[in-house]
């Protein structure tokens, strides 16, 4: 079966104002709204569009983390994923461990594509997709803004510093999504009801033969240093004089 694996990470919602705990042991997540990582939502949307074009048959959403991740998997199922796999663990999961766990699922599911968000908006690592492609020994097309599948190949437009780069990759491959790849659909109420009946499987990392290790330990968290507010100038002349004084214009 032509299958696409999609990553779904549970993160603090992007509208939440992030605050560092006063004791510096983390950021405040108690009572804070949690959501699907926006880049993963884009990944799922792209998978759905590929399926709707008849180029894939099944979409499997994968999340790694504590029990609460099932909320985000249900959202993914409501968006249109066919089934979900929850790798349940309370351990800290570094991108390297996430990639190893995803690889085990890939070996089991044999997908034509794995689509992941280019980064999660909590740790901002931007690593898991590339690591997964390396471990899998398959192509990677990161920061995708356009994906075209034809036969056993994909042509992917990537957002790079220089502009837009186009790569052709053999399938199976890993694609990571950039912001402008698509606009994810809204979930409708009947779909939320239907999603409750879709299969959601739970596995432990040990059952996949992976024991997550933490090799990069968090020592402390700090709020960012603030820039202090400067002066307001009354007109363009004053602005010009100030900038000229600093040799900037």
């Amino acid at each position: 079966m032509k299958r696409i694996l999609v990553s779904i990470k549970r993160v603090v919602d992007y509208n939440v104002r992030i605050r560092v705990k006063p004791d510096g042991t983390g950021v405040i997540t108690d009572g804070v709204k949690m959501s699907v990582n926006p880049f993963d939502e884009i990944a799922l949307e792209e998978a759905l569009r590929i399926k709707e074009k008849g180029l894939a048959e099944e979409i499997v959403a994968v999340s790694i983390g504590p029990a609460d991740c099932q909320q985000q998997l249900r959202t993914a199922l409501a968006m249109g994923a066919d089934r979900a796999v929850h790798v349940q663990t309370d351990a800290a999961i570094e991108p390297g461990s996430a990639a190893k766990l995803m690889l085990k699922l890939i070996e089991r599911e044999q997908p034509m594509l794995a689509i992941l968000g280019k980064q999660a908006i909590d740790d901002d690592c931007n690593q898991t997709g590339q690591m997964l492609a390396a471990l899998w020994g398959r192509p990677q097309a990161t920061f995708a803004s356009k994906v075209e599948i034809s036969g056993d190949k994909a042509q992917v437009t990537r957002e790079v510093d220089a502009g837009l780069e186009v790569l052709e990759v053999d399938l199976p491959a890993v694609i990571t999504t950039d912001l402008r790849l698509n606009e994810p659909r809204y979930v409708k109420l009947p779909d939320i009801m239907k999603a409750k009946k879709k299969p959601l499987e739970t596995v432990e990392p040990s059952a996949l033969g992976v024991s997550p290790v933490e090799r990069l330990k968090a020592v402390k968290f700090d709020p960012p240093s603030q820039r202090s507010k400067g002066v307001m100038v009354k007109d363009v002349g004053e602005l010009f004089t100030a900038l000229r004084g600093k040799g900037l214009v």
Binding site: V12, R17, I18, V27, E94, P95, G96, A99, D123, D124, N126, T128, Q130, M131, L132, A133, A134, G137, R138, P139, Q140, A141, T142, S145, E159, V160, D161, A162, G163, L164, E165, V166, L167, E168, V169, A173, R180, R215, L216, K217, V219, F221, D222, P224, Q226, R227, K229, G230, V231, M232, V233, K234, V236, G237, L239, F240, L243, R244, K246, L248
Partner: protein
Amino acid sequence: MSKILIVAEHQGGKLNAATAKCVHCASQISGAEIHIAVFASDPAAVAADAARLAGVSKVITVANPQHANPMAACIAPQLAELAQGYSHVFGPSTTFGKDLMPRVAALLDAPQASDIMAVESATRFRRPIYAGNAIITVEVTPGTQLVATVRTASFDAAQTSTSAAAIEGASPSATLPQHTRFVSVSAARSDRPDLQTAKKVVSGGRALASADNFKILYQLADRMGAAVGASRAAVDAGYAPNDMQVGQTGKIIAPELYMAFGISGAIQHLTGIKDARTIVAINKDPEAPIFEVADYGLVGDLFHVVPELEKLIASNG
């Protein structure tokens, strides 16, 4: 002792400034021995540039026609091979480095610290998380090889020195995969300075109201010798191309002068400019959050301010 391998980023036979910033970052690890690896179809000119960066003791070149257009899938296995015996492997936190380094880390089974902004020791680094709304200090277990990308906006470029380091050719045995093929790159070529490295940046937001109106910013930028940037709102509205986007999800820059015209100052934009030396904000809304971080703020209509400023610069040239 730390032994650090840095992968060079280059375009058109020239070393990218991002590489010199990685060298500066690496040199903050005390007593580090710093080597640079250059992957190119013809690495000679880039290697000569790299050899003159202060602190670099060796440059390793890998010449291969398949590296004419750098692809992570091709460079990674060779870089991983060269990286044996190094305590750290660094690359710039540009799209080149972000694409490549995790692939290298996975092949080495090493952890990666992304976007390092400060070096506390050979094993301890600071990096931004949550779009720069928090800074985490991370520590790698001593003796563990570490891969990292360097947040270029946080470091000055290493100086060039008069003496040059040794340049050695290498032929890694890793076979290059054929499953990934370069098709094209469409660079928005312009005569203006590169946004990532420009000393001055003039940037526009949604208030510009059309792609056509951006022309007034281009004129001002050309008068000043500045690069042109845009907010995500302006890019999403189609007023400016993607590669002009400044912010956490676009380019993170640290120019000497950043001028924001009609940009309200969403947190994701501010993350991209907070290392700028001087920030100037021009906005009609006196309550715009951008004024909270601006060194100079002016409440006014950008369609009057921009031409007036251009005229003042021209007449006082």
